[in-house]
Each structure stands twice: as structure tokens, then as C-alpha cells.
């Protein structure tokens, strides 16, 4: 049993990030986009790309176990490898 480690990231926000990146690409690939807006989207896109890459590279699999506590509630505990 190891100490619980803090969650390094949330893959759900990765899903949001990828969805947003797709939107940004679609917008940037349109011709009628305002230049200021295009530059703002570019900057946002670069930031989100960096976050997404960091999240993927930092990740380390966490193993846990769900048990029934004496009071019947579901309890989660870290599991050694």
C-alpha cells in the first residue's frame, strides 16, 4: 500500500482541450476570420497544445481498489503494484 498521490491531471479536461483545439483549427482554416481573433485563437491553441502534451507525458498509472466499508459505504484505497 502506498500513500495516496495527488491526481496529476484530469483526462476529462484533456477531452475538452482536444475538442477546443479542433474548434480552433476549424476557425483558423476559415478565411473570413478577423486577424485579431485569429491571433488570439493561435495563442490559445498553442497554450492548450502545451497543456495537453504535458498531461500526457506526466501521467503515471494509479492502481486502486474499491472495498465495502463496515458501514456499507464504498471505500477506495491505493493498491501496490
Amino acid at each position: 500500500m502506498t500513500d495516496p498521490r495527488p491526481t496529476t491531471h484530469d483526462p476529462r479536461s484533456l477531452q475538452d482541450a482536444l475538442r477546443r483545439l479542433e474548434e480552433i483549427v476549424r476557425s483558423l482554416e476559415r478565411d473570413d476570420l478577423d486577424l485579431d481573433r485569429a491571433l488570439a485563437l493561435f495563442e490559445e491553441g498553442i497554450g492548450r497544445l502545451r497543456d495537453a502534451r504535458e498531461r500526457l507525458s506526466e501521467a503515471e498509472l494509479r492502481l486502486r481498489q474499491l472495498r465495502e466499508a463496515a458501514d456499507g459505504s464504498a471505500k477506495i484505497a491505493d493498491l501496490g503494484r
Binding site: T8, H9, D10, P11, R12, L14, Q15, L18, L21, E22, I24, V25, S27, L28, E29, D31, L33, L35, A38, L39, L41, F42, G45, I46, L49, A52, R53, R55, L56, E58, A59, E60, L61, R62, L63, R64, Q65, L66, R67, E68, S73, A74, I76, L79, R81
Partner: protein
Amino acid sequence: MNLEPGLESQLPADKPYSVSFVMEAARDWINKLRPVWVEGEVSDLTRARSGHWYFTLKDRRSCMQCVLWSEDVKKLRLELEPGLKVYASGRLTVYPAQGRLQFTVKQLLPTSSEGFHAARLEAARQALARDGLLDPDRKRPLPAFPSVVGVLTSPDGAAWHDVVAVVSRRWPCCQLVLIGARVQGDEAPRDIQRALALAARYPSLDVLIVGRGGGSKDDLGAFNDEAVARAVAASPVPTISAVGHEVDITLTDLVADVRAATPSAAAEKAVPDRREIEGRIASLGARIAQGAGRRVAYASDLVATAGHRMGQACERRLERVRAGADRLGASLDALSPLKVLGRGYSVARDGRGRVLKRVADFSPGEPFRLRVSDGEVDAAAR
């Protein structure tokens, strides 16, 4: 007589028991037997007005009196008739008023050439289908990027290790949560249902793998249990079945949102491949750079074009101003006093430059200057 442990000590052995006591004690003892399946041929079928059906099940050497209560008659899915061979599930009891053994039937299945297990499985499958649990519309999509993947299996089995191996290679950015349960043996169906209920109480799960790895081929029983299948169908999160058998499709496979042949295959379906997502991110990055670059190039083109057009516009405007100035110059020229002088008029001014307009402005002998069209002349009044 040994009807129940302890009974003899409570009653004197030298006194006779009453008939009722013995029959009721026998009933109480027999009622403790587990429900069983019995194979036999139907005869002496009576459909009573009360709605209950009475019949006899027999084979070559024995027969048993059976009753099917009206509530179970309504659930019957076959045409019961004398001579029909059936599997009957129920419990033995004693009917003291008539002093006979009676088999209380809960469920009847026609016998199958493929055997009892096939018949039971088919009946359970039909029951699940009747309740809509096999409808393709019920199948839920799996989450694209799960944070928490539940694995309901034996803590000691190969399935857990297989899933850990695949997920740590493909998608290490998640939590794998083991929900331990016995997946083989008589206790397995109840234990799997308990574990499913436990998993349902843990709200963070995104997807749940239910299964076992390898193991013995004939011990798929728990995953063919109708109650287990119903519990899997009731899971609040999408399920992937991984019963570890390529050929036999279990009831659990049928109700799960996704079926995988093995736990490793289930893990591959549960999580995306990190390298694939990294590739996707790289491609998105390239497209963003390209899109933005194109947009900037387009903008600088626009600026160049605009500059050109602005130059042209200035030129035209300058032209207009110049023309206007020429016209203005012409009319100013027409109004110029020099022009009037050109027509023969002249202007007289005294020594201080004042214009002399009237006779009274001139004094005799006073010199003045006369401005004519091409110069000035000194003059004096007489």
C-alpha cells in the same frame, strides 16, 4: 424418529406423536431443501377453476405430484400438455392435509435436444429479451478519455494483471480500480452482484470492465446467470464484458454495452492509445500553425493591396485637388484688381499708400502715384 435435532429431547420418547405433528415436522424439514430442477414427463394435467394447475411428473420408475400456482401459470411460456417432456424448477413440500409430497413448480421449460443448460440459457435469454435488455438501442457509447476505469474480477486472476499491463502501456494517465469478486463457483453469481452493487455506489467510475481471464471453459456459469446479467444491465456506467472466451457468448456479453473476447481486448476498448492521441495533438498543432500562418499571410497581402489602393486613391484625390486649385486660381485671377487695371482702369494712391477715390482726396500740387496695368507713374494734381 429423528425429525429435527433436539426435538426428541423436548418430548418424552415413550409417548406417541400426533399425525399432524409428524406431518408438519416432515414438511418443515423438507421445506429446507434447496430448489431443484427435475426432468420428467407431464401427465394427469388438471387446470382448476382457481387458476392453479395440478399435474404429475413421471419417469419410468417414479412419479411426483406437482402444483403450479396461478401466478406462475401466468408467467408460463410453453403449452403444457400431457406427454410433454419438461424441465421443472421448484421445491418439494409436504401437504399434510392429504399426507403427500408435493412439488411446487415455479418454472417450466421444454426439454431440449441440446440439453438442460442450453434450454435454461435460452429461457433466460428470452426473459432478458422480453424486458428489452438486449435491445441494440440500450448500448451506451464508451467515454473517449476515461479517468477512472473499474475492473470487476477476481483479485487473484489473470484478468486484473492483463488489464493492468494493457492500460499501463496504452493509457497510463488514468486510475484503474479493482472491484474484487469471486467469478467461479457456486458463490460467484451472488458475489458478482454484490460487487456490481458496490461499483454502482462509487460515482467516479467512467467505465466498468466485468470479467475473468482464461480459466476453465465450463465455468462460465456465473456470467450466464440471469440475475448477474440483469445487474450488469443495470450498471450506471457503460460496461465492457470480458469473460475470456472466444466461442461461447454469455448472457453478460449480451447485456454489456461492449463485448470483448478477453480482458486484454476489453482494456484496449476501454482506453485510447496515448501515442495515437499524441499524434492527434501533433497534427492539430501543425494545422493551427498552418491556419494561423495562412491567415497572417492573407492579412499582409491585404495590407499590401490596401497600400496600393490607398496610393491610387491619394493620387486620384490629389488630381482632383489640383484641378480644383486650377479652377479656383482661374476665378481668383478673374477677380484680381490687376485684371481690372488691364482693362484700362488705374488706381491713385497718396505718399502713404491710401487710395484716393474722390476729388476731395486730391490737394493741388500734392504728388501721388498712379498704378496702371504694368507699373506705377508719379503724378501731381494741378
